[in-house]
Symmetry: C2
Subunit: 291 residues, 2 copies
């Protein structure tokens, strides 16, 4: 079965990997025709038409580090690294702006944001502490002192629908608004398969043993740079032992409860607020309800 559509995917950019590695070709593109993604810190500029705003390289500060995003309609696209990175979740202002964008622009912005945010938070060499310099059009940083090469991070995270007798296990993180429940999730650690990470997270957070873990869909999540790997798993039984340091609550929801919550819209109903747009949790629950 084809993977369901997810937010932050479907970027129209050609990443043009061959150009990154060719300083002459890259230099040749950095003229008045090149486009610069307008950013205020990490917040995108938006035109009156609700599309991403672009300027030219002349709009960048003289000492700005520029990253090559790729080609769009034959034009080279760049973004400037902001002085401060974010590294964490998006703030309310970002969500407000992102809600205005069409899917292709959202995907383009997400990839660009992850990349410039990484640069802003990684200007020193983790191996020796010296300042590093961007290389390969901004897809690498090199350390002139010790020779180490550093690459943008993409952190795989498993996020899973756990099913038992036609009910789904959803949980609340302490930082969630009241009544919002979502799929359990956690970073894949060194030394784990995707399936092992799913089983460990569900056992740690909810005390539930799972089997038959299956991949459903993936999504890039640019806050700051996760690869969300959406899975479905079956629970061996429905007894919960909730890790209260990780979760405020977790419970089983019937198909009927989830259909009602989806129907109730962004404010939810008395029981639950359905996960917000953009989140792969929503895509996964939609997929489960509609299949």
């Amino acid at each position: 079965m084809a993977a369901p559509a997810v937010a932050f995917s479907g970027s129209p950019l050609d990443r043009a990997d061959n150009i990154r590695c060719d300083p002459d070709a890259l230099g040749g593109l950095m003229d008045w025709r090149a486009r610069l993604l307008k950013l205020d810190g990490l917040i995108p500029g938006i035109t009156n038409d609700g599309t991403l705003e672009w300027g030219t390289l002349a709009d960048a500060a003289d000492d700005a580090e520029l990253v090559f995003l790729g080609l769009l309609d034959g034009k080279a696209c760049f973004a400037a690294v902001p002085e401060e990175g974010a590294g964490g979740p998006a703030d309310p202002r970002a969500w407000q702006v992102l809600g205005l964008l069409q899917p292709a622009d959202l995907a383009l912005y997400g990839g660009a944001r992850s990349l410039v945010d990484w640069h802003a938070r990684h200007s020193f060499c983790a191996r020796c502490g010296s300042p590093t310099k961007p290389a390969k059009g901004g897809w690498q940083r090199n350390c002139p002192a010790c020779g180490a090469e550093h690459f943008p991070r993409t952190d795989p995270v498993t996020i899973m629908l756990v099913e038992h007798e036609d009910r789904l296990l959803l949980g609340r993180q302490p930082r969630f608004p009241p009544r919002m429940y979502s799929a359990l999730a956690g970073f894949v650690e060194p030394g784990e398969t995707i399936e092992e990470a799913v089983a460990r997270e569900v056992l740690e957070e909810a005390g539930v043993t799972v089997h038959d873990v299956e991949y459903v869909a993936s999504q890039p999540w640019p806050f700051p740079s996760q690869l969300m790997i959406g899975c479905h798993a079956k629970a061996s039984d429905d007894a919960l032992t909730i890790d209260r340091t990780e979760l405020d609550d977790a419970r089983w929801f019937t198909r009927g409860e989830l259909l009602e919550a989806r129907e109730a819209g962004p404010q939810g109903n008395d029981t639950i607020i359905y996960p917000r747009p953009f989140a792969i949790a929503r895509t996964l629950i939609d997929w489960w309800l509609d299949r």
Copy 2:
């Protein structure tokens, strides 16, 4: 369908995430009963029985950074961060030793290696350049100067069987031994789904457009710390445009050719050497041949 078995998976360790975050509990485990994984640099010690060799914490250097691997048979297991990391592929000596290990020990070693190798190469803060300190039993490093938190890397890589009319597309990297062909592969970049990364890599490296990308299996690969995400995809046609900076060669192999190569063993036959044990490429091709 259940994911096929892969090397470096199935670690018998309980990662005991709750202990990492509890300094008192962790400190209480660091006594004479705790076990220390014997490492010479990043190479494991092996007993005469072909199992991983363990010592006690007294075997570690006084100033060694210790990471908490987890619990095994109720005993706390640690590894010491070596003075030098590796960061790249395993050397021939490592492969020789790893060939002696049973799957559970291989998985345990792989996870430990990724973690201590990361520490050895990340002792400074990428944000401000100051020395960092291990935290949470070695699953984090904190910067006392700027407050940044740093986490071990796990880098997702897509690796894919591309199929066209019952033939598979395999390629040779320049560093491969003569006649060795394997599945195409490449890092997932910020802003991509797994499926998009597969399609981009195959187009970049071989000039082939794919559709119907499906996840098959994943594998942790501890050289230094990849999450290999194995997929299957269908090619729209079989014309190849090979990127010679990435690949020495790529070609389509019939089922018969691959069955013969597998049969021929580690030295292969006149046409091809089948991918080596441990590699998920081998698992994937086996899966395709045998399904």
